[in-house]
Symmetry: C2
Subunit: 155 residues, 2 copies
Amino acid sequence: MTPDLRSELRQRKPFDSLQQDAHLNLVRTFALLQDAFEQLFKPYGISNTQYNVLRILRGAESGGLCRNELRERLLTRMPDVTRLLDRMEEVGLIARERVTTDRRQVSTRLTKQGRRLVDDLDDVVLAEHQRTLGHLNKTELNSLIELLSRARENL
Amino acid sequence: MTPDLRSELRQRKPFDSLQQDAHLNLVRTFALLQDAFEQLFKPYGISNTQYNVLRILRGAESGGLCRNELRERLLTRMPDVTRLLDRMEEVGLIARERVTTDRRQVSTRLTKQGRRLVDDLDDVVLAEHQRTLGHLNKTELNSLIELLSRARENL
DNA sequence: TGACATTAGGTGTTATAACACACAGTATTC
DNA sequence: GAATACTGTGTGTTATAACACCTAATGTCA
């Protein structure tokens, strides 16, 4: 029997609805996972969001993305991407240059240093995924993924 | 066929591992849910975290909780509960008073206004849970809850 | 009981997020 | 091609989060 969230948080009454129960479980699980990766990235001087940016930029076909494209691909809403990128540029992880074909746009790409960082992190990130969720078997993971996809249908 | 996260985020390669896939799905789903409730609470002038505090204080048996007890029951890590409570006290949602038996502690409880707010919110919160996750049936919700509990075993 | 550790809470400061607004470049319409 | 709308980006400002440190009250143990 897995310890349920209600007793973990010492809540008196049962949750008001099964939907709420699922919601709270999701929030709680997210928070713990987020904290784990925050600690993981701390020695490298980057945040979860910044790692996300590095990962997206590495995955971009063209080698560069403008600010709004990047924002759309971020997992979380992020209203101030400009200054997030400012900070990453300042420490030399990314570089920006104005696009010649549309001078409104600014293309962002990884620097060598940024590329090396995200490449170097592959191993530790993979290991952390293994540590945090490795005890779930394939069936469970696929089931979880499927249910989370279903959950997003109305979001 | 549910739209999968990879195509949603226009990612080139498949995710490196099933654990990572689950992780990213979880982060994405959390973010969308969080945003939905943020919008819900905005007209009432409170944040998700503040609602969480109200809910916890209402659920507390004794009627009051000291800062650290409250922090432990929060779903997310929150290093600066003091000033979170400062703000809630300022707008009259909570009240604090020093505990006489242990003068280090400060007990926090809902004011009438805070109690009324969280009571009034019950309906809209329930409706929002219904709107966001109501399309999942009981089996799916229970399965999701169970899998998320399992996921937290190593966290 | 006096020295020391521990615990609860708060404060100062810096970093980041959030929101509204402004500006420049581009597209559109007449 | 001039006026207008739209789009992409950046800036100013405020609110919140994060981190390290500080103080007071209590507990512990010689």
